[in-house]
């Protein structure tokens, strides 16, 4: 099967224009089919502050009320997504900006109200990805760029970008040999969280269990590894966790970051 890179970037890339532009230049030079998924970063909060839209939290978790939904539609789906696409075109990468609603690519379910009403938040599953349209775009050498928004019942829904990346990877694993890359603020999974020289180059299921028993990993990385193995066990070939500046060094068999396989 043909290779496909699905690459996710978050605040540490998006919030610094120079870092973002340098990343997008590297991304453009990848000669394989590829998909970019971006998060939101701090820009929405900054613009929300200017507009007098408050960020509401319940038990430390952000609530997407209607003004916040419209704010992220503007910032994630407009400002960030359109500017990334325009910069990629300038680098001769034929990108197209998508939310889940565009081309019906990712239909969600609005998160049911339990103890907390998260508001306009979407939960998604691989079976609700329109893989045939994405396949068609990729075959035209068009590069999909996803904003962290999906939709249901006529409304856009705020959706976690890490989840969009893994759900896309799982859904497209029928058609492609996928490397899912999470750009991270560190060079990879570190044995010693304070020492960038201790990147673990590769982790398989057995080694993951061993690391968990040894309790050497720092807490922040545990859910990321959990998600990575979740994707691996649903058909994704490889997950790589690495720094955005190392993107081009994380394409092949030898990597700077941490390569995760079954």
């Amino acid at each position: 099967m043909q290779k496909l890179y699905i690459i996710k970037i978050g605040g540490n890339v998006l919030d610094d224009e120079q870092v973002l532009n340098s990343f997008l230049k590297d991304f453009s030079s990848i000669q394989y089919p590829k998909i970019l998924v971006h998060g939101g970063g701090k820009i929405a909060t900054k613009i929300g502050d200017k507009m007098g839209i408050e960020s509401n939290y319940v038990n430390g978790r952000r609530i997407t009320d209607q003004p916040t939904r419209d704010l992220v539609t503007m910032v994630y789906g407009g400002l960030i997504n359109r500017q990334i696409v325009t910069t990629l075109q300038h680098n001769n990468c034929n990108a197209i900006g998508l939310t889940g609603a565009d081309g019906n690519v990712i239909k969600a379910v609005k998160r049911p109200v339990g103890d907390i009403d998260f508001g306009f938040v979407g939960d998604i599953e691989p079976k609700n990805v329109n893989t045939s349209f994405l396949y068609f775009l990729l075959k035209q050498n068009v590069v999909p760029v996803f904003a962290p928004l999906t939709y249901a019942d006529g409304t856009l829904l705020n959706t976690n970008a890490d989840t969009i990346a893994s759900v896309l990877a799982i859904a497209l694993s029928k058609h492609f040999n996928i490397r899912l890359i999470y750009c991270f603020e560190k060079k990879g999974v570190l044995k010693n969280v304070d020492d960038e020289g201790t990147v673990i180059r590769s982790i398989d299921t057995a080694y993951h269990h061993q690391l968990l028993q040894e309790k050497v990993l720092f807490d922040g990385i545990l859910p990321k590894l959990e998600n990575a193995f979740g994707a691996i066990h649903q058909g994704v070939n490889e997950v790589l966790i690495g720094h955005s500046a190392d993107l081009l060094k994380n394409m092949g068999e030898e990597t700077e970051g941490t390569l995760i396989r079954k």
Copy 2:
């Protein structure tokens, strides 16, 4: 050749949610290949006011400085465009939201600085429309929805929506038998501007000249007719000027609005 409807809506549809939703329901029910082009309306000014972004005018013409460019990227390319697409999906119309940068569909030239520097404004020509990508989308039964933004040299550019609609129509007239529809605040071109009962049902080149000589038309409609005949003389089959509420009555040979042909 197959029929294609290219339909442009502006502030009189966009600024009233109920009118917009009713229009989008009608639009969704059109069984032919179709493209929607939307303007900006008053929403950008309203949000700009909240954010403290001033509208700058020189000789009565709006200037797109950098804060305004970012504002229209958010509002036209994000809020309005993404919400229209989401509503269309809810009406079972498989829409996709595009700026000129997405899929490289419309490359512009930044308007050269003359007596006035208009700032981030794009001028466009039919030859710079990526018709093959649009043709592919239309053949997949995907409905392109254009925000009034194009791009050049790595920046998005504010672009007149009427012009986007006519440039798309001219460029696609090689592949399709096109009816370009401008949704207007009146039912059509009126012989007596104060009487909606005086719609002129059809105008051809000869009758246009006669109307100009008789000086019966009100000034506001003259540039619209000029643009319409410009499109007609560059390959577009028909231009229709009519009210958004009459959309479905303006599809066939009998129309409520004004049908313009060579």
